[in-house]
């Protein structure tokens, strides 16, 4: 190889290296800009999310509904009624639906007669059975909103939710369907509009945690004057008898 040739090949090599260098610079510059942009976008979105202090949209801020009992349940019926029936329920739970079918009418009658009052604790442990739509939480939040703002419609809305209870494992009722049921149960439009604000979702989560912490195993859990009712809750009769017995004995 002559001197000149060697020089040329060195030059060519240098040119290739230089070109490669430019290519790398080009990629790194454009790529770097895009990366910086993305990191900034992530930072801005995260920052905005942190500073989003609305007490709504499941922000985690605990808002307790008004009109609860001293133990934090949703009351139905006359406060002076001698017997208290406490029901821990999940609006997605099929057994709760069966319980309601068997005893709803009887409870209705006993509430009217002033024999018993009912305390509802709607929980959300079956959220995972609604394909990610968290039906239990949405229904319980709607119920808490009604308890907060239209307490005299709680029982009607409770019954309406059970009458249209979705099957476990489905997406559950849509927000619109829940709202329609509330309207049919006589809840005012302004109250129904507040369902979408998800104000009481943290409260529902708290009730759920508290229920399991207090030894609830599943739903429905029914207590008569604080004692778990162990009888058959899936056919009409036994619960009524137990309530009437409790009313008579005055315990």
């Amino acid at each position: 190889m002559g001197k000149q040739q060697r020089a040329t090949s060195r030059k060519a090599q240098a040119a290739i290296v230089a070109q490669r260098g430019r290519q790398i610079n080009w990629v790194l510059t454009v790529g770097g800009l895009i990366i910086v942009g993305l990191v900034a976008a992530i930072g801005i979105v995260a920052f905005n999310a942190t500073n989003n202090d609305e007490p709504t949209a499941g922000s985690g801020k605990l808002v307790t509904p008004a009109n609860l009992t001293s133990t934090g349940a949703i009351p139905v019926g006359k406060p002076a009624a001698p017997v208290t029936v406490e029901i821990v329920l999940d609006y997605m739970c099929p057994a709760c639906g069966k319980f309601e079918q068997a005893n709803g009418g009887e409870l209705d009658r006993l509430i009217q007669a002033g024999t018993t009052k009912v305390e509802l604790r709607p929980i959300s442990f079956l959220d995972r059975t609604s394909q990610g739509t968290r039906y239990s939480t949405r229904a319980a939040n709607a119920m808490a909103t009604v308890a907060d703002r239209a307490p005299d419609k709680v029982w009607a809305f409770n019954n309406a939710l059970y009458d249209s209870q979705p099957q476990e494992g489905t997406r559950g009722l849509s927000n619109q369907q829940i709202a329609d049921l509330a309207i049919q149960a006589g809840v005012g439009q302004a109250v129904v509009d507040a369902f979408d604000e998800r104000i009481f979702e943290p409260w529902v989560a708290n009730v759920t945690e508290a229920a399991f912490a207090s030894g609830v195993q599943g739903t429905p859990t029914v207590k008569i004057n604080g004692t778990v009712f162990e009888g058959d809750v899936y056919r009409p009769g036994p619960l009524t008898q137990a309530i009437e017995a409790a009313a008579k004995s005055g315990t």
């Binding site: 080009w26 990629v27 790529g31 895009i34 990366i35 979105v45 942190t50 394909q131």
Partner: protein, 206 residues
């Protein structure tokens, strides 16, 4: 400065770095698959079991595990990870030890892993937009699958294992030398993070 860049460049295209990344990523994937499989078995025995990663309404393995997408083939998807990741670990470890697999072998690995990669992102999409919840272990699988796929593609382009037309092979190889793959992977992962933050930021940081 230039020397440092050149050194970094050399390290990045060396077997030790590429297969090391592949090995670490596939081990992480295997661990995640194992945890998810155990959870799936737990949930099958007791549908109300509380999983350690049910942190809030968005970060919830239970919600994700209960969705039909998580048993696409009739058994928990995580079982696929238990089957596939040990193979990737073996390939990565062997290559680290200096083994050179035949071209067809690496090509087949690329094709099979591409299917896994597609599946991982289909699941990520379903989890984000249809199930409405994320599970940390699934996200770990998404990210480490991305890294394994990226390193496998890197090495297969570098070693011309993909039976590509000559011009395409040349173009891709020069893209590799220009670190285009690194830039693409970083941008790709940042887009994933951005998507999660945009969709669920309110609930994650709120």
């Amino acid at each position: 400065m230039t020397e440092l860049l050149t050194t970094l460049h050399r390290i990045r295209h060396a077997n030790a770095w590429i297969f090391g990344t592949m090995l670490v990523s596939s081990v992480l994937s295997l661990i995640a698959s194992f945890v998810l499989s155990v959870d799936a078995v737990k949930l099958a025995a007791d549908p109300t079991a509380e999983l350690s990663c049910n942190i809030n309404q968005v970060i919830s393995c239970g919600t994700v595990a209960a969705a039909w997408q998580s048993q696409l083939l009739g058994f928990p998807n995580a079982f696929l990870g238990l089957i596939a990741e040990p193979v990737v670990i073996t390939i990565a470890a062997a290559c680290l030890g200096g083994v050179r697999f035949p071209r067809w072998f690496m090509f087949a690995a690329q094709v099979v892993y591409a299917i896994g990669f597609g599946f991982a992102y289909w699941l990520f999409y379903q989890s984000m937009f249809h199930i409405g919840a994320l599970c940390p272990w699934c996200l770990l699988v998404t990210i480490s699958t991305t890294l394994v796929f990226a390193t496998l593609t890197h090495v297969n382009i570098r070693d011309n294992n993909l039976f590509l037309p000559a011009r395409l092979q040349t173009a891709l190889a020069s893209g590799l030398r220009a670190n285009l793959d690194l830039v693409i992977v970083v941008i790709w992962l940042l887009i994933v993070v951005l998507a999660v933050v945009v969709k669920y930021g309110d609930l994650l940081f709120g």
